[in-house]
Each structure stands twice: as structure tokens, then as C-alpha cells.
């Protein structure tokens, strides 16, 4: 077995282990729920992808097993497609059951009860989108004015 290839595969897997460890430590150390959610995506993006790149190279070049390499690609595609969807569902549920971050929101688009409701066929989304965007833009302008006053 080629030593250079072995070192390349090990570097990929060590990178994945580092990001998984960073995500796990962030999952324990972060102060509030949404921060922990953000830290856990560290595991599911870079940790998984670097490890799977190492596994793909190992199965394809060392073992020369195309079936196992295809299974590794399937795991990677599933993880990439699934985790944003699941994270979005969990984060929206956390907002809806009343969990808030420690700091104040700058933009709170979910405060509108019409926001993120699954659209029916008759509802046109554009007016509600304007209603959602206008207060946030106004708040941003107010904050800019406050900052100017303070300065």
C-alpha cells in the first residue's frame, strides 16, 4: 500500500475527527439553544464530509471497490440533503415553543403569525412578504439613527 496515499487519507479523516470534536465540545459549551444548534452543524457538514472523502478515496483507490465507494457517496448526499431540512424544522419548532436567544433579535421575521405557514393555493405570498419586510427595514433604519445619535 502506497504510503503517500495512506497519509492523504489519514489527513482527511483527522480533519473530520477535528471538526467532529469541535462540534461536540461546542454542543456542550455553547450558552443557548440556537448556538448549540449552530455548533452541531459543524459535525454534520465538515466532519462528515472530510471523513467521507477519506473513505471514498480508500474504497476507490486502495480497495478498488466501486460498490462501497457508491455507498459512501450515497451517505454523503443523504447527509448534505437531510441536515439543513432537519435543522430548519428543529429551529422553527424551538422558536414556536417559546425558546429565545439570550441577546435581542435584530430582525424577527417569525413574529408575524403568517410567516412560514405552508402556503395554500389561494394565498398570494407577495403582500405578506412585504408586511414581513417593512418592519424589519424600519427597525434597521431606527437603529442606524440611534447609532448616529450616539455618535
Amino acid at each position: 500500500m502506497n504510503l503517500v496515499l495512506r497519509i492523504i487519507i489519514d489527513v482527511f479523516i483527522v480533519g473530520g475527527c477535528f471538526f467532529a470534536f469541535a462540534g461536540a465540545v461546542g454542543l456542550v459549551r455553547m450558552p443557548d439553544t440556537f448556538s448549540r444548534m449552530q455548533s452541531s452543524t459543524n459535525i454534520t457538514t465538515l466532519g462528515v464530509l472530510l471523513t467521507l472523502i477519506g473513505a471514498f478515496l480508500y474504497f476507490l483507490i486502495v480497495k478498488e471497490s466501486w460498490g462501497s465507494a457508491a455507498k459512501v457517496v450515497v451517505i454523503g448526499v443523504l447527509t448534505i440533503l437531510a441536515n439543513p431540512v432537519g435543522g430548519h424544522a428543529i429551529a422553527r419548532a424551538a422558536y414556536r415553543i417559546g425558546i429565545r436567544p439570550e441577546r435581542e433579535f435584530v430582525v424577527d421575521a417569525l413574529a408575524d403569525p403568517e410567516a412560514c405557514v405552508e402556503p395554500s393555493a389561494e394565498v398570494v405570498n407577495e403582500p405578506s412578504a412585504e408586511v414581513v419586510n417593512e418592519p424589519s427595514a424600519a427597525e434597521g433604519a431606527e437603529e442606524v439613527e440611534k447609532e448616529d445619535d450616539e455618535a
Binding site: I13, C17, V25, T33, R36, S68, A82, A89, I90, R92
Partner: protein, 87 residues
Amino acid sequence: MSEMIELIYFAIFYILCCFIAIYRLIKGPTAPDRAVAGDGVDVMTDMALVLVAMYSGRGIYLDIAIVTAILGFLSQVLIGKYLEGTL
């Protein structure tokens, strides 16, 4: 058995990271904390299974990893919809 003995150490490292996440799974104050920590444990178990498959040269562990990835996605989305109340 492969000659890459370090792969099994990487798998053990992933399992130790799982225990760090299990601490949050047990202690976590809210339900989304537990759901997110459970998803982290699920994904790291996937990676440990892929590494064990590389070490032992048996492809059956990869099939188990695929099934675990699908079940983790389904459980996360279902827990989210259940907590939101729109299930």
C-alpha cells in the same frame, strides 16, 4: 483486516465524541437541545460505522450506516414537526 490500524482508533475517537454529545442529550434543558444532540450522536455513529467498514473490509457496515442516516433525518424532522404542533 486492513493494514491501516489507525482507522479503528479514529472510530474509537468518534465514539468518545458521541459520549460528549450524550452529556448534552442527558442534561439538555429543552427538547430541541436533546433533538440536536441526538442527531449529532447519530451522525457520529454513522462515521464510526464507515471507519469500521474501512478497517474490517466488510461492506455490510456501510448499509447499516445508510439506514442510520435515513432514520436520523426522519427522526429529526418528525421531532421538529411534533414540537411545532403541525404533525
